[in-house]
Amino acid sequence: MTFDQILFYVFSFWFVASSLAMIFSRNAAKAVLFLILSFFSAASIWILLEAEFLAIILILVYVGAVMVLFLFVIKMLNIDKSTLRAKFTGYLPLGLIVAVIIIAEMTLVLGGNQFGLDVVSAPARHAADYSNITVLAMQLYTTYVYPFELAAVLLLLAIIAAITLVHRNDVSRKKQSISEQVSVQAKDRVRLVSITSPKKENK
């Protein structure tokens, strides 16, 4: 077993294990953390495939931004505790059987007969001065400039969408209403609440 292989299997193991852990996790926050772990494993495997740039992007953008967004939402909505009762009733065995069969079939297709080393040989490693980033960048700004622009549109869309959907009030601008501020009364701003002593119900 070569070193490559050892690395591959170790990362693969973590990749698969943390993915499984993620889907079976009862706690959303923990699930996010398992997902982050599997992203790290994925990034490692990508590096084995000489896709350094993408691996780094995966860590920086995905783990650094997207997963944090997940965590943020989970915490904001306070849903990590509220759904403790994970139910895998009934469907789990069936689902697993389906999954196993699909994996088996895919393995048959993707197995050594089609993509083994004797069929597709591994390319030689690039020289040390090979810059994955440069190569991608060259392509991105030339051949793929059109998709690149589209990606920009997509992000614009995401911005508009997120704001439209989640913004609490009317999306119209907030304006200062001076007359309102001037004519404000104390009773508009302060509310007196009679507080009863809390009973021992929220223990």
């Binding site: 297709v109 007969n113 089609q114 069929v119 060259m138 030339t142 051949t143 793929y144 400039v145 059109y146 998709p147 589209l150 990606a151 549109v153 997509l154 614009l156 869309l157 995401a158 508009i160 969408a161 439209t164 959907l165 999306v171 119209s172 601008r173």
Partner: protein
């Protein structure tokens, strides 16, 4: 590497409609920020104007020689231009109807129109997409806009539920599509349709290559079937149709269908047309299942939008039958069918929206009771639409079915044609339910039509077109055929 790339700015002209539309989007987005409440209508008119101009630009490109730009990832051909023109037309009509709905239900915001325009941009990208990547990006622009559009009725939990279901299932479908794309890329070494086509039509294709292409094809077909809403990937359709605000339902059921067909053509016909023998069987089964399930389950519906959802599934089955034939004329028939379907669907939802008023969605079949008495003209329009959808001559719905059946039969699938027509008869039952409500029952509630004149006018023209195009379908048939 730098030297191999040449960029000719003049070639941008062929993408002028897209460029114009994107610019308008930005302008409208910005302008909308500065419009006070009383001037919100400006957004609407600007939207219509930009759609119109985009349409005109697309129209002016019809007849141009086939051009590939942006590193072979963008194609300009007649199909693209014609589809774009139709999409703009349909979108304009849809916007006319939408305005009434949005006003009635206090959903009238600038974002709505911007999102619609963005989704249309996505569709245009799909229509012109000639690489897996641009197709995917276009599809995502479209999908993400649609998710948002559905959820734009933020206080309606059914809309949110619909958006969420669409989102989750759509993401799975995207995943499957991407997986298929990765396989195609992996075996052919390219993501450009033109290269893929060259690879797939190589007569020396080995069994390994065939296997992998077909393996990828399964996922691609599933992704496309999902977008079209074909059985067994149809589950989102009824829920989304029912839950969405009606104007969005109308939009979803019309313009994106054209784009989905375009994507189908690009990938399966332009790219993998040589593998037709492999995917047509799959398509046939999916098509027949769609026709059958759409017809049968729709029978049980009481919600008219949900019913149309199933009816759409059934119609999509017919469209897919056109592709089963594997000949150019069959694709033409499918195109004719989808265009006819868009026309009918617009009118159908137009009538629904016409009856909408605050707090009244007119989405139950029983809401149409006595419509013929109260508003004979629009009842007649609905009658035309329903009969057309049922495939009764002399309306366009018949000629589109006829064209498909003719192609299916001439391809030798007589049994398939018989199954299809039998289910078409079954589906006639639920169209009759609406006719029944309108004509045979007496009104239970007061129906008032508050729609503005422009909507009434456009709706009337829309419905009359169903008849007129039905009476003179020749031009449209030939047009559809000329696209391939």
């Amino acid at each position: 590497m730098m030297n191999t790339f040449q960029f000719d700015t003049a070639s941008l002209l062929v993408a002028l409609p897209e460029i114009f539309l994107l610019s308008s989007i930005v302008v409208i987005l910005l302008l909308d920020l500065f419009l006070t409440k009383g001037f919100k209508q400006v957004t609407y008119y600007l939207t219509q104007a930009s759609l119109l101009i985009t349409g005109i630009l697309s129209y002016s490109l019809i007849g141009q020689p086939e051009t590939l730009i942006f590193g072979n990832s963008f194609i300009l051909d007649d199909m693209a231009s014609v589809f774009k023109v139709f999409m703009m037309g349909a979108a304009m009509v849809a916007m006319v109807y939408s305005r009434h709905y949005l006003t009635q239900h206090s959903l009238f915001t600038g974002e709505y129109f911007v999102l619609v325009l963005l989704s249309i941009l996505g569709m245009m990208v799909m229509v012109s997409g000639y690489s897996l990547l641009t197709l995917y990006l276009g599809l995502e622009i479209l999908s993400l806009s649609l998710y948002t559009l559905i959820a734009i009725a933020r206080k309606r939990s059914s809309a949110i539920e619909a958006a969420l279901k669409y989102f989750v299932l759509g993401a799975i479908a995207s995943g499957l599509l991407l997986y298929g794309m990765s396989m195609i890329y992996g075996i052919s070494g390219s993501i450009n349709i033109i290269d893929i086509a060259a690879f797939a039509s190589d007569s020396n294709l080995g069994s390994r290559e065939t296997l992998i292409i077909n393996f990828g094809l399964v996922f691609l077909v599933i992704g496309i079937a999902f977008k079209l809403g074909a059985v067994p990937f149809h589950m989102w359709v009824p829920d989304v149709y029912e839950g969405s605000p009606t104007s969005v339902t109308m939009f979803i059921s019309t313009v994106p269908k054209i784009a989905a067909v375009a994507m189908l053509v690009r990938i399966l016909v332009d790219g993998l047309g040589s593998m037709h023998a492999y995917w047509s069987d799959l398509f046939m089964i999916i098509a027949l299942l769609s026709i059958a399930l759409g017809s049968v389950v729709a029978l049980m519906q009481t919600n008219i939008k949900r019913m149309f959802a199933y009816s759409t599934i059934s119609h999509v089955g017919f469209v897919m039958l056109g592709f089963v034939t594997g000949v150019v004329t069959g694709y033409g028939a499918a195109t004719f069918y989808i265009l006819a379907y868009v026309l009918m669907s617009l009118a159908a939802f137009g009538v629904i929206i016409l009856l909408n008023k605050k707090g009244f969605e007119a989405d139950q079949i029983s809401d149409y009771k006595g419509l013929s008495k109260h508003s004979p003209w629009f009842a007649l329009m609905m009658l035309v639409v329903m009969l057309s959808m049922a495939g009764v001559p002399p309306f366009i719905g018949f000629y589109s079915k006829f064209f498909i059946l003719q192609q299916v039969i001439s391809a030798g699938f007589v049994t398939v044609a018989i199954i299809a027509v039998v289910f078409a008869v079954i589906s006639a039952y639920y169209y009759l339910q609406i006719i029944k409500s309108m004509y045979f029952n007496d009104a239970e509630q007061e129906l008032t039509i508050t729609a503005p004149m422009d909507m009434k006018l456009v709706l009337s023209i829309n419905a009359i077109l169903i008849l007129v195009v039905g009476l003179f379908p020749d031009f449209w048939m030939r047009l559809s055929l000329s696209l391939f």
